[in-house]
Subunit: 210 residues, 2 copies
Amino acid sequence: MYSRNISNSVIKRLPRYYRFLGELKSEGMTRISSKELSNKMGLTASQIRQDLNCFGGFGQQGYGYNIELLQGEIGRILGLDTPKRAILIGVGNLGRAVALHVNFESKGFQLIGAFDKREALVGQILRNMPIRHISSLDEFCRENLPTAAILCIPKDAAGAVTEQLIKLGVKGFLNFSHYDLAMKHKGIAVENVHFGDRLMTLSYNIDNLE
Amino acid sequence: MYSRNISNSVIKRLPRYYRFLGELKSEGMTRISSKELSNKMGLTASQIRQDLNCFGGFGQQGYGYNIELLQGEIGRILGLDTPKRAILIGVGNLGRAVALHVNFESKGFQLIGAFDKREALVGQILRNMPIRHISSLDEFCRENLPTAAILCIPKDAAGAVTEQLIKLGVKGFLNFSHYDLAMKHKGIAVENVHFGDRLMTLSYNIDNLE
DNA sequence: TAGATTGTTAATCGATTAACAATC
DNA sequence: TAGATTGTTAATCGATTAACAATC
């Protein structure tokens, strides 16, 4: 799609640009300069211009950027206009909370299935979907071809399921488990979310404030 | 405590070292070289040695590192041995899941309180704690002096509460809201957890695989 | 001792910031 | 046109990797 070799540092900033521009838009603003945006976001104007110019010249000299247009472009770059089918693996407290709390639709995904190994959960309704037994995963994926999976299962269970999912064509993972997906499989996209690691970093930063 | 100016890149890697060393320890291993560890973790041996040497010489030439000793050191560096009192603000699906799912004790924290504005939740028991009404936050904090807060509330509500918490001496935040804490307040430690941003990044990376 | 592997310095690489000519 | 602000190149800064002498 867009050229390869856009650095990860840039990509990781795009969602935040997207959010800020969305807010400015909803406040009724129509244009903004890189300088003004940099003040609001705590970045340098230079960085903003560099980041955006990885993808094209969205601004106009002497004017700045059209907020709505720019947000639209960033949304397209992020692929939010091409929803990817996603399934949830593991409907414990965390899986349930993620399913209910996150607005997948506005983030480029469509949650089409939820799976658990616990019979007691099977058939329960979660966000308009019935929870399915993990044994039906293969069949479901062959019929519905999900592109992404949200892993809310313990480390021990993750290895086998990811192996299975990758064979079934799943290309991206939001990984809440401590299973090191990215190490074991190449050619897939992985975002790790590790609360524990973040808490430890927070602990260090609290102890070393100032 | 430890010298200032340890780069954030290093700090963010420490929890992962800590986890890997814990696993190796529980597998019965007692020593490891930077080379071997680098293979397991997908880093360079050079980086591991550089990272560790920010804090001291924990290894031994010709031998490598003692796993148990090294893990202990990293734990201390992260401050896991000095538990910090933390409170949970917002006991919706997400707050509840975080409280139940995360092992605070092993990550340097002690969860001592949970608050919500919804009367219906007040008095319910969450992880051995009664959920308290947000109106009792001031009194509770003055008595129990929490150092950290987990913010599981919507953006709109976050501004006022964080202002209040900072006045009450809270120094660190695990922030699940889209309220931009770090921008508005200086001299505090903030870890942001934004599922939505991570999903958008994942969306991009799926669309741009290979 | 000889071999292995660290601690540490130097070289490289990448990301951020500064500067400014192009241009709306 | 004059002023503002981009797009883009060059300079700086920081982080990663390589190399190797020190040493267990």
